[in-house]
């Protein structure tokens, strides 16, 4: 289990302006003999991170560069699609070329180029897809279109190659909240999903209402450490009811509470809200693991960086004798290493994608 250490040279400094530099600093990585000739350049532009990475054989991360746009969107209080699209066009070429330089590989060592084709913001996805096809044409190598959700599911393997399946994955981000049973590398079942707001959206909205700024996840996490998570009993919607989630009622309950009790400590409100979200997510995942004989629980997506969610997941796994797979924060948030890794397994199973494949903003997780 790897709960905190970053994998390889991955660095994701949210809020950094421009491309992020390889942390290892020293001699570039070397491809193992087993993975030589199997390197994929992956590109991720589905939302507000411009990212590129080189991963060999679906497991060895040779480089991973993320340029976050969080500062660009902060003044709008949320991701603005048009701002994101413009920033991706400006940043992608430098990010890609940095990923290639840090991998210490030559253009001619890249066996395929992959990009996230969906789900996400269409004007943002188009940038990565177009760039990947352009490189595939110039280098005369296959293009592989990647499902962003599938990429998140593969992120944990990069930190924990010996991950044992089946696992129940809590996939939570600003755009998604899903409970997925991962039976095999490319075989999943979506057990449940949010019926309204994504968990990450709820964090953003509550933070905004509390006047804490954007993005909401990190700041609520930080405030919560000073607060009492049992101060207020916010609702746990659908806790005992199937596998779906609902966070819109919780958000409204928090907002109503602040209206009625304006003198409540912000820290207590934040901690109690965060507790309600994490509690519901983990309780359902735990029940799902029992129902489907899963061997572990796994976190994925940006909200998986939340420290209370990680803590509760770990506690649940300890209590139930399950393995806990908590990928590093850099691997939870959007990155291209997970895209290149997922691309490798898809490519092995289905072959390359056609150059006629476009961006699909509402692409679903391929279920078998």
């Amino acid at each position: 289990m790897n709960a905190s250490g970053a994998v390889g040279p991955v660095v994701n400094t949210r809020g950094a302006v421009g491309p992020v530099v390889n942390a290892s600093g020293g001699v570039g990585p070397v491809v193992s003999a087993r993975d030589a000739g199997r390197a994929i350049l992956g590109i991720e532009t589905s939302c507000d991170e411009t990212a590129a990475a080189v991963v060999a054989g679906g497991r060895q991360v040779l480089s991973s560069v993320v340029s976050s746009q969080v500062d660009l969107h902060a003044r709008y209080g949320g991701v603005v699609p048009e701002v994101a699209g413009r920033a991706h066009v400006e940043r992608l070429v430098p990010v890609m070329s940095q990923a290639l330089v840090e991998s210490a590989l030559d253009d001619s060592d890249i066996a395929a180029v992959a990009a996230t084709a969906g789900p996400g913001l269409v004007g943002a996805l188009l940038v990565g897809v177009s760039a990947a096809k352009a490189l595939a044409l110039v280098w005369d190598v296959p293009f592989v279109a990647v499902n962003h959700l599938e990429a998140h599911l593969h992120a944990a393997f990069l930190d924990e190659p010996s991950l044992e399946l089946p696992v129940v994955v809590i996939l939570v981000s600003g755009g998604h909240t899903m409970l997925v049973l991962m039976e095999d590398r490319l075989r999943y079942r979506v057990l449940g999903a949010t019926v309204d707001d994504a968990a990450g959206k709820a964090f953003d909205k509550v933070a905004r209402y509390l006047g804490l700024g954007y993005p909401g996840g990190p700041v609520i996490d930080r405030m919560s450490t000073q607060g009492d998570r049992e101060a207020f009993a916010f609702p746990r919607a659908m806790l005992h009811d199937g596998w779906n989630f609902s966070f819109s009622g919780l958000k409204t309950a928090v907002i109503n509470h602040i209206r009625r009790h304006p003198d409540s400590a912000v820290e207590d409100v934040a901690a109690s809200f965060q507790e309600a979200v994490a509690d519901v997510l983990v309780a359902k995942a735990r029940r799902a693991a029992a129902a489907h004989d899963a061997r572990g629980l796994c976190l994925a997506g940006g909200v998986a960086a939340n420290s209370r969610l990680r803590e509760l997941t770990l506690d649940a796994c300890t209590a139930d004798g399950l393995a806990a797979y908590l990928p590093s924060r850099a691997m939870c948030t959007d990155n291209a290493a997970m895209v290149a890794a997922a691309a490798w397994w898809r490519w092995q199973a289905d072959g390359p994608s056609a150059l006629t494949v476009g961006a699909d903003p509402s692409l679903g997780l391929p279920e078998v």
């Binding site: 603005v80 991706h88 905004r208």
Partner: protein, 231 residues
């Protein structure tokens, strides 16, 4: 010098390959919102038709707009990525120049209008020169009404062209001294791009790939949120 031209600023998307001898191959389609699907296969087909490898390309030319944002992003990203990977320079050309260029022999002033949606057009005026056109006004985003009143004030002979002119044709029909160009000239073409870019490439009017930015002419709609970003 072999040039690959990439054109996707309007509802049309396409590419062309050419040199000082003219256009060797071009592939174009008018299918709105399908730019990301169509462009890469079109480039592959154009290379096959011209019987060249992308490695033979000495410069990449691209229409940087103004035009439809999603199309521009597909074209500009493809162009700068290819130029970077091929280690060749980029020639950036304005969409309005490309619409005016095929009408360079008409001898009258040309008003180019590319549909900008929301009741507006991207607009610039041109005069004819031997062998080319010269921009008389900077690209702007305006209402067709505004252009009509300017024309009435100037009272000269002019030709109006572009998909914006086609869309708002009824406003220009019947204006004294104003003629609508054939709708066949309405879109910027990849052929014109290659021809125009070739002469610029010969003069080494290149832009570094990292200096290329689409000509949006409009700011994003979103308004900054006063309580956001306080943390």
């Amino acid at each position: 010098m072999l040039i690959l031209g990439i054109e996707s600023a309007t509802g049309r998307v396409g590419c062309a390959i050419g040199s000082h001898e003219g256009v060797r191959a071009s592939v174009q389609a008018t299918r709105e919102r399908r730019h990301a699907e169509l462009l890469a296969p079109q480039i592959q087909a154009a290379c096959a038709h011209a019987d060249i490898s992308l490695r033979d390309v000495a410069a990449v030319a691209v229409d940087v707009g103004p035009g439809l944002y999603t199309g521009l992003r597909v074209g500009v990203t493809t162009a700068i990525t290819m130029a970077h990977a091929l280690r060749v320079p980029v020639v950036a050309v304005c969409s309005l120049d490309l619409v005016a260029f095929p009408l360079r022999h008409t001898g009258r002033s040309i008003s180019v209008m590319i549909d900008a949606r929301r009741g507006e057009v991207f607009h610039a005026r041109y005069g004819c020169l031997p062998g080319g056109v010269q921009r008389l006004s900077d690209p702007e985003v305006v209402t067709p009404d505004h252009i009509v009143s300017q024309m009435l004030a100037r009272d000269d002979e002019s030709l109006v062209v572009g998909d914006g002119a086609v869309r708002y044709a009824s406003m220009f029909e019947g204006l004294r001294g104003v003629e609508l160009a054939d709708p066949g000239f309405a879109h910027p073409s990849a052929e014109s791009l290659v021809l125009l870019a070739h002469s610029r490439a010969v003069r080494e009017e290149f832009v570094r790939p990292d200096e290329i930015e689409p000509l949006y002419l409009r700011r994003p709609d979103a308004q900054p949120n006063p309580i956001a970003g306080r943390s």
